[in-house]
Symmetry: C2
Subunit: 490 residues, 2 copies
């Protein structure tokens, strides 16, 4: 992997001085054009051996480009607070039109943990597979990824440290950790080589840069960044889906039609069971708060299916300090400038806490699919991305509970009419609700696909026939209790 | 302060049941109307003694209102990372149209620190004065503040703990901390009484609620929240400033005219001095990184005054992992829904780090004043708010360095024309720049007022005559070095 980076490439000071002004001008021009175009983000990952010039290169890039539209983040070792490893990287993704530099990245921990034997080979391979999926998603969402690895041979590293130590003005730059790291040099090179090999994909290849000569290294890195900026500029924007959707021809699988919509529930039995279930949930939430788990609940359903009412019966049993309710509507300006999962990652709870989503990331394969708000390839790949997202939540300790509240078109009509006639409910019904209703078969089809493709063992869908409000609320509470009981037992 | 809360108010269960449905309906209706209107935010602070029903009330409010548009934050004791105490509260302010509940708030630490004698009387008074200023600003920015203090007498608290302990199902609710707190009960009541007295202002009074009877307490709190929502709805929106501004009649103070714009600087002397100053700054930044200080730099100036160029010469001397550059343009959707200082608080650096602002919070008293983007009372009160903001930064360890880069109208014209004629600079000039130029006297006047009113001993303005780019860049670097040297010495 690193052989060609040990050849000892050199760029003469004269050539460097000759080429630099052009490179700087082109970098700046490309950066401004990207900002102006606003189509894609560029993310540069900087990795490599100690003393191979990572820090110097990052500083140079900041000098050559406009630092006002460039954000550099230094990534230290992660802390586990119950959020998936990748959570903190979502927080620092550059928005469209911007350039981000990550000094260390999602590769930092997996490589360090493997070198130190905290992870075995299988776990290491699993983490790299996750990274591949994550990067594939980023690229599909329009992020141009540039992965740079600065390499210096063991001999050259030792010599560089010696030279630095010999000069009192630079001796501080060599830490005890650097010298210790030298002892694991071979293991680190071996592990890094595996990591680079397994994650050099077509959409996000690694570029290994010989770090021995400063001029060569800087010029090479600068040109790589320029190439990435130009790739971002050249890439066509996401295709706009046709404005007038054709009707979906495919037949329904019958999943929703097969539910039992006839269930009824008397007032008194409802009240007493509600109280009993809420008490049970309250106790379970207290155990959750004390333990190593978190809770993510998703409420989806057609308009007027009773999402809000069910959600309120659930949070009534919880302590307000422990949960957060997140209603999901159309994305705002900041959210549109990021990959679509970005706005959901922000609300992932830490250990002991819960987030309840009123609508969710499933909007991608429901409303965005049916209303043609995104292109077909985008919602088609979303199923796998969502499964991957939820798998990460579960692995990090979350209990993921997803409800589809299924009502019949007849019941929806009854509720719409009731809302239109009830003064304090009239705000809950909009012309859009009536429009959505006309696409019922398309939505039905989308829901069935969604359940088929994203109901996994670790994060199953719970389809609840919801024509009766009381019955629905109790069913939701009961399922939630059962899922939590099971999680607490495990 | 608490006498009337020890009377033992009681609401009969019958009355509670009778009044509750109306209250809930009104709360929901007011909440939705607020959300729809989007004019103001409501922030409820919940404080009081242990066992006085704070937690129960917060949970009830979440049950009565729509939890999707209500955010509850539990505030624990603060950690010092070099950001002012109030920083973390800025992170959780509700946007316009929303309701936030803070369980604990900016009162938590000052009261606890005074009870435990970590703060003396003077420091306590100083922190309360800060709080008064902060709340005055929030209210002026359109936040309706409701401050609730739940009180229970010492005797009643002791009895409540005994009752809870007697029942095995509730014994867990009484912690050792609760029992210890009982020993400091009198001191706590005394300190809290002082705090409430000193911060019960006209715009943000405290409401003390007798916590002994659950029905009384809940109904009273619910009605207070309803009153706050209605106050938010009734308050007129901020007056819209007149669309066509009149010319400012006031005369210039001559501050800008008095600068020496004739300075020149040769290329060779520039290069060698630049290198020397950047080396000096680099060493100072390393000391900053190791120490208990942070750095906030503000670049302001007319269009084409050289802010970007000076900023780049500064960050060239810094490590990219240590600083962040924040360009400030017109506020986006999220930012417009918050008090105007909100978006700057987000970027306040932690200890050892630096943030450089290319334009800043001074936009309020410059562009917003001149272009009439905010009403006169709003920019007039901004001077004091900004001084207060910067004082907090300095108290928390920041070195605050503010540059006004002053150019003459003639030099600006030369630069505009040069930009229009240079292909790779043409993007830097917009029709707006030409328009702003027409208001030069108004801007001049605003700058002079700004410097007069916000150049303080702890955060002075550095007005740099900037007709010569080289001279400007060196002056900026020199001033920054001097300010840092002074700070490191202190």
């Amino acid at each position: 992997m690193f052989e060609s980076a040990e050849i000892g490439h050199v760029l003469s000071p004269r050539d460097y001085r000759r080429d630099l002004p052009d490179l700087r001008r082109d970098l700046l021009a490309a950066q401004y054009e990207l900002l102006h175009q606003g189509g894609r983000a560029v993310l540069v990952l900087v990795h490599g051996g100690d003393g191979a010039g990572k820090g110097e290169t990052v500083n140079l890039l900041n000098e050559w480009m406009d630092p006002r539209h460039l954000r550099t983040e230094a990534i230290g070792p992660g802390e586990h607070d119950g959020r998936p490893d990748v959570w903190r990287f979502w927080q620092v993704l550059p928005p469209k039109g911007h350039v981000g530099i990550l000094f260390g990245s999602w590769y930092t921990d997996p490589i360090a943990d493997r070198v130190a034997h905290r992870d075995d080979e299988d776990r290491f391979a699993h983490r790299l597979e996750r990274i591949r999926q994550f990067e594939r998603m980023l690229v599909a969402e329009g992020v141009v990824l540039l992965k740079l690895w600065f390499h210096l041979s063991k001999k050259a590293t030792r010599e560089r440290f010696k030279a630095l130590q010999a000069d009192p003005r630079t001796a501080w730059r060599v830490s005890r950790q650097d010298l210790q790291a030298l002892r694991h040099f071979d293991a680190r090179v071996r592990v890094a080589g595996d990591a680079l090999r397994l994650t050099s994909t077509g959409e996000a290849p690694w570029h290994v840069i010989d770090g021995s000569d400063a001029a060569w290294r800087s010029m090479t890195a600068g040109r790589q960044v320029l190439d990435a900026l130009r790739a971002a500029l050249a890439a066509p924007p996401s295709p706009t889906p046709p404005a007038l959707p054709a009707a979906e021809a495919e037949a329904s699988s019958g999943l929703l039609a097969a539910q039992s919509y006839q269930r009824r529930m008397g007032h008194r039995r409802y009240e007493s069971t509600l109280e009993e279930l809420q008490g049970r949930l309250n106790g379970l939430m207290r155990r959750l708060g004390a333990g190593r788990r978190s809770l993510v609940v998703v409420f989806e359903g057609m308009d007027a299916a009773g999402k809000g009412g069910s959600l309120r019966r659930v949070v009534q049993a919880m302590d307000a300090r422990q949960y957060r309710v997140v209603p999901i509507g159309p994305p705002n300006e900041n959210e549109r400038a990021q990959p679509y999962l970005w706005r959901f990652w922000r609300y992932i709870p830490r250990l002991g806490h819960a987030t309840l989503f009123d609508r969710s990331w499933y909007g991608r394969v429901l409303v965005e699919r049916v209303e043609r708000l995104c292109a077909e390839p985008d919602w088609r790949r979303a199923y796998a991305e969502i499964n991957d997202f939820e798998e990460q939540l579960v692995e990090a300790g979350a209990v993921v509970v997803k409800f589809w509240l299924a009502i019949t078109p007849e019941e929806q009509l009854r509720r719409f009419e009731h809302r239109s006639e009830t003064p304090h409910k009239v705000h809950k019904i909009t012309p859009e609700d009536w429009r959505n209703r006309e696409r019922w078969p398309d939505y039905e089809r989308a829901v069935e696909d969604m359940v088929d493709r994203t109901s996994t063992r670790i994060a199953p869908w719970h389809v609840v026939a919801s024509d009766n409000k009381r019955w629905t609320r109790l069913a939701v509470l009961r399922i939630l209790c059962e899922r939590l009981e099971q999680a607490v037992r495990d």
